[in-house]
Structure formats: C-alpha cells, structure tokens
Amino acid sequence: MNDFRPVQMSSPVLTVRQVDAYHAITVVAPGIAERFRSGQFIAVAVGGEQSSMLLRRAFAIHDVKPDYGGTVEFLFAVRGRGTAWLAERRSRDLLDIIGPLGKPFPLPRDPVNCVLVGGGYGSAPLFPLAHALRRRGCRVDLVLGAASAGQVFGAITARRVAETATFTTDDGSFGVRGRVTDALGQVIEDARSDVVYACGPMPMLREVTALAARHDIPVQVSVEETMACGTGVCMSCVVPVVGGDGITRMARSCVDGPVFRGERVRFDDVGTIPFDALGAPGWKARGDEESPVREAG
C-alpha cells in the first residue's frame, strides 16, 4: 500500500521541447515513474524556492520511461506566469514535483474494446492509458479533437498506438470538422466499443458521457478542474459527484478523482453547490435550525 503514496522530489529537467502547440518537459523522477498508473498527475511548484506563486500547477503525466532510473513527461500550454516560468526551464534545472497523485483510470479485467476521447491537451493522459490497455489485449480506438490543427496533440503517436485514430477540429483545419462527439458515435459503432475513456474540458466530458449513455456503455472521465495543492488539503478543486449511496458530495478532483465514472458527475451543476448535495445550505436542516445563508472560510 505504501507503494502508492505520492513522493515529493527535486527533479532535474532532462528536456524541454515543443510538441505541436504545447510545451513538454521531461524530468528525472524515479520514485514517481515507478509508482505511476495511467490517469495520475503531478503537482509542480513554480517560480523557484522563494516564489511568490504559492499554488502548485497540476499536469497529467503523459509519458513514463525507464531511462535514468525513471523519467516522467508532462505537457502544458503557456497560460499565465507559472506556465511561462516552466516554459523557460532548461535541462538540469530542478523542479519541485509531487506525484503520482490522484486516482488512476480503472482498467478492464478482460480484453475489451476501448475508445479513448481527448480534447486539446486533455489527450495527454490517454497515451499511457492506451499502452496499458494494449498490454491487456484491449482494442484501442482514439478520437482526438481541438480548436484547430495546431492544437491536435499527438497525431502521429495516436495512429501508432490505436487501431483507428479519428481527429476533429472546430475549424476543419485537420480531420473532421466539428467536435469529438460528432465523430464518437460512429467510432463506437464501427469498433463495437465496450467502454469509453475521456479527458478534456467539462462541456466535452458532459457530451461524451451523454453519448456513452445513449450507447449504453460505461464511461470514465478525467476532469481538468483547476487545483491549488494537488494533495487534497486545500479543498478548492471540488465537483459535485454522486456517490455509490446516491448522495451527492463535493468531491475533490485531486484525491477523489481526477477520474470519475461519467454518469456520477453532475456536469450541469459544476460551479455550483447543488441544493441536494450533502451539507448544502438547507440540507437535512435539523428541526431547531433556520435555513442558513452561510459563508466564511
């Protein structure tokens, strides 16, 4: 059990490179590499030891290799000061990294047909998943989408690891014009998919989950909720998720996720506290209490 505990390490950067519209950093992190299971992520401190940026940046692990005792690669787009700092890292710089974090993708026991759906760099964690599924004898089909050609990630690798790889872009500059869900139904039918795995923005995950439901197959989604610590202590990355007992809880995507069963996530209520969530204002109010409007941290 201890083997699954995340580790914190000061990891030397091996390479920083440009992959399509994204940056990819590979670090030497044996402890993380050996514990890693697909779907897990790392939380990286940015800005150096006395950084004024206190929140860790979370990134899905995109690749793990045995070189140098174990390397880990993650992918990002520059979106703010933290990722800009990361993009400036050079070989041999040290990064303060914690991982592997979060619940991995559950793998099927039997060699079933799996379709993997990614949006933008949400595709990143699907590649190690594809390899893990292939090792179990599963058929893997990939459907990858993005806004335009430059943001479709890993097209060449996709064709190599998957039985079929389908690409969609919003502007039609690469593959099929449209969204992943415009292509997914056909793929599910052609490949006789038994299960869907998806990672990407919430609206995409909602659509994919609805589509899987229409085909009556299970779907595992990995959410990309913004995190601050990655370790479960800050309570910021919550999403409303229905538990096995039918009760909705504000689940932390970093430790209770990031992988959830699609039908358990209340996509329409993300960004709110559903009125029937455990502990929501007015929830099971005791007789002697007024229905409170509460706040404060």
Partner: protein, 315 residues
Amino acid sequence: MIPDLRVRLGELELVNPVMTAAGCAGSGRELAQFFDIARIGAVVTKSVMLEPRAGRPAPRIAETPSGMLSAVGLQGPGIEVFLQRDLPWLLSRGARAAVSVAGGGPGEYAELARRLSEAPGVAMIEVNLSSPDLARRGRHFAHDPEAAARVVRAVRAEARPDIPVFAKLSPDVPDLVGLARVCVEAGADGLAMINTVRGMAIDVDTMRPAVAGGPGGLSGPAIRPIALACVYEVHAALPEVPVIGMGGVRTGADALEFLLAGAGAVAVGTAIFHDPSACVRVLRELEQALVERGVERVASLVGAAHRAPGAAVRG
C-alpha cells in the same frame, strides 16, 4: 547542542512550537503521506461543525502575489464523522489533536465543545470566530466583541476543564486588542491569530471575481507583516496570555519572528499547499536558527522582541 523545543501555552504543553493552521491540513491523512504527523507540536483540524457542510461554489481559490484568496466555506463532514473517523485516526498516529470548531450561534459551539469533551484525546479546542452569526444576518462573531464573548463563554462552560480553549481572531476589526481582552475575560485560555484578511481579485479575462461570490480571505506570506503586528500588539497588552501566531509562515525564520513577537507557538497554513512537508521543514529550520544563535530553549525567545534593546536572551 540540541535546543529544547518544548513550549508551554498555559495548560497546553507541546513537544515543539510548530503546528498546522486550521483548514490547511485536511484530516491529517493527506499530510501523513509526506511526514510523520506526530513530529509536529499539534495538528489543528479544519473547523468542525455540527452538520456536514458542502461549502461554497467553485472557484474557491485564486493566487495573488505571495498569497492566495480563498472562500472554501468550511466544507466538512460534521462532528459525527469527525469523532468516528478523523479524531481516532489522528490519535492512532500519535498526533496531538487540536480541534477547531465553528457554528452558527453560541448553542452550536457549546454542543461541539460538549461532544469533543466526551471524546478522549482532544488536546485543545480552537474557536473559529470568523463564522457567520445566524442571529445577526451573517455578521462574523469575531467582528462583534459581545457576540464573540458569548461564543467563548459557551465553549468554556461546556468544554472539559482540562481542555484549553483558544479563541481564533480575525485581523479585520477596529480594535483587536480590545477583542482579545474580551475573549480572555470570557474565559479563553489563549488566542490564535490571525485568520485570513479580507481581500479580492478579479479575473480580467472572464471579467468576474476570481473567487466565486466576490471577496475572500487573503493568506500566505503577503499577510505576514499584518499578522506579526497583531501578535506583537496583543502580546504587549496581554503578556500573560498564550498566543498561537500564524499568517504567512513559510520558513524557520518566519516562525522565529512570530515567537519573538510574543507567540508561544506558530501555525503553518498556506505554505502547506505549496510544500506538504512545510511543517517539518519549518521545524528543522527553526531548530537550526536556534543553534546558530546559541539559544538553548525556544521558550526563552517568546516575546523577546519586546525587551529593551540589548537585553540578553537567556537560554
């Protein structure tokens, strides 16, 4: 020489002066993955309420320069689950468990104190006064000395006499020393300060408040000078009252600053989000700082900044 790190805050005796700040250490389990939680002075829990609580909608947190804004809304499982699951676990790991409590009125606080007193092993009760008073349309207890006193009195009356009660104060009040005095008169055995400072950030892309609902609580190194002034002034006015100092502690030197200002112990909050082992690192750095200064007993430094210039710190 290995410095003596033991501290005594009234009846609260700790093996060393570093603890977690309420709401920043999860249930303890999350941090136990990174270090032995029995090694720090105490684990202060997030504020426990009577009922389960879902908290506030996301986004709950935003990064600001050397700090962060938060409005988590005290999400937690409620006292029942806390007593059944979290408290026994902390004790089984050898941690000293200080329990923070929050409620909507003195009655709820009293009930929490009663329940905690029935359980074995509670080292201290910290009364989070930055919780909305339901009888006063959500005004925080900490913002009204009378309301704060009622809560503290209620907790002290119900808590087992051997469990020290600390009142946790907010810096956003016109007269902090006055509030501190009122809490002590109401029966608080000590004070914990500071809670977060009201602040705000706006996302210029979405053009919306960065934290849902608008303002939130500012924490982290950005508030350390504010926190230090609070501890210094309260210690000057009430030198006999034990104080747990917090607000932006990130290094051993930061912890030392708080001790010198008059805090008998120091809590680490936001720094944990950046470094899950922050508490043990701060402890190690503090110990090193004592060695470098030839100080034998950390307790001898408490409030030393108030002494006349040149007065020796006796170890």
